[in-house]
């Protein structure tokens, strides 16, 4: 029996390991949140002031809209939805790591898909704004630069993907190692006093919350910020004609 170069016997079997299920759970949480926000805001009276949940949601959307307008300019205000969805997905993926469940970003497909969304968006905006002059960027200073430019156009995709993947994977590996060795340490210390199954759970809850605070919350917030800032800067750089007076935020306009 000869061995095939491309083995397709496993091609149509689905993979339901932990990270794939976590990605679906995050998607489910975002869908449920969107539906709840839709129904709450539909029956809210616009003339009355906000309370509680509506105030939180409106403040969040307004802050992100101000951030988008401040970074990209007034005419890119419509990108708020895209940026908010990306930010919510990435932050929620990292945030659910505090429960001990695996992070959805540790399988390479998820950050690659998110990076591909931004990559396609960058080139779509570039083609839309530049039309046929888009192809000038490949022979940019001289025609001999064509191979270098072809390779360097993939650099944003690579850096976005590997940044999320590396942070999530290193956090997950370090937390797994800490949980395992703290359990073994607790077994050694408390093995004589307590029953056999309950002796490994006493030291980890003292030390691991602080590690979760750094690896999940802090890293999640910073990586979200970096991802959306890079997305916005790369998209707004594609515009050939920029004017400075368009960078007015919503508050300044109403004042």
């Amino acid at each position: 029996m000869t061995t095939l170069a491309l083995d397709i016997s496993n091609m149509f079997k689905l993979d339901f390991s932990g990270e794939v299920i976590m990605s679906l759970i995050v998607m489910l949480i975002i869908c449920i949140l969107s539906v709840i926000i839709f129904f709450v805001f539909r029956k809210k009276d616009p003339t009355k002031p906000d309370h509680g949940f509506t105030m939180v949601v409106e403040t969040a959307v307004e802050k992100i809209q101000n951030f988008v307008v401040e970074t990209m300019g007034r005419k890119y205000e419509g990108f708020t939805g895209y940026v908010l969805t990306l930010a919510l997905y990435i932050f929620l993926c990292f945030f659910l790591g505090i429960t001990g469940l695996p992070n959805a970003l540790i399988s390479l497909q998820v950050p690659l898909s998110i990076g591909l969304c931004t990559f396609v968006m960058i080139h779509a905006v570039a083609i839309h704004k530049n039309k046929w002059k888009y192809y000038k960027r490949f022979t940019s200073p001289l025609a001999v630069f064509l191979p270098i430019n072809l390779i360097s156009m993939w650099a944003p995709l690579l850096s976005l993907t590997l940044r999320l993947f590396g942070n999530a994977l290193s956090g997950y590996i370090i937390m797994s190692i800490m949980y395992y060795y703290l359990g073994a340490l607790s077994d050694v210390i408390f093995g004589g006093f307590v029953a056999q199954g309950l002796s490994s759970i006493w030291i980890a809850p003292i030390i691991t919350p602080w590690l979760h605070m750094y690896f999940d919350l802090f890293t999640g917030a910073i990586q979200t910020l970096v991802f959306i800032v890079l997305t916005m800067i790369w998209i707004s750089q594609e515009d050939p004609d920029e004017s400075i007076e368009e960078n007015v935020t919503l508050k300044e306009e109403l004042a």
């Binding site: 590997l162 940044r163 993947f165 590396g166 290193s170 910073i222 990586q223 910020l225 970096v226 800032v229």
Partner: protein, 73 residues
């Protein structure tokens, strides 16, 4: 022999984080200089410093991914 070479390769791959550490130190040093000269720009400098540190960290993470690839694949 192959197993030992894997660990040596992972160790050499992690030499790339030296640059990341030096770079982040310089970023924070210049940000502190700016904050000392102009205390009212503190929040804007702090935000840019954190963003710059996170982007600088990426090259260190590339070397981590290469080391993990050496060890496990």
């Amino acid at each position: 022999m192959d197993n030992g070479l894997k660990y040596i390769g992972a160790g050499i791959a992690m030499l790339g984080v030296i640059g990341s550490g030096i770079g982040e130190g310089r970023i924070c040093a210049h940000a502190l200089d700016g904050m000392a000269r102009n205390p009212e720009a503190t929040s804007s400098l702090r935000g840019t410093m954190i963003l710059g540190c996170a982007i600088d960290e990426t090259t260190g993470i590339y070397s981590l991914i290469v080391a993990i690839l050496c060890l496990f694949i």
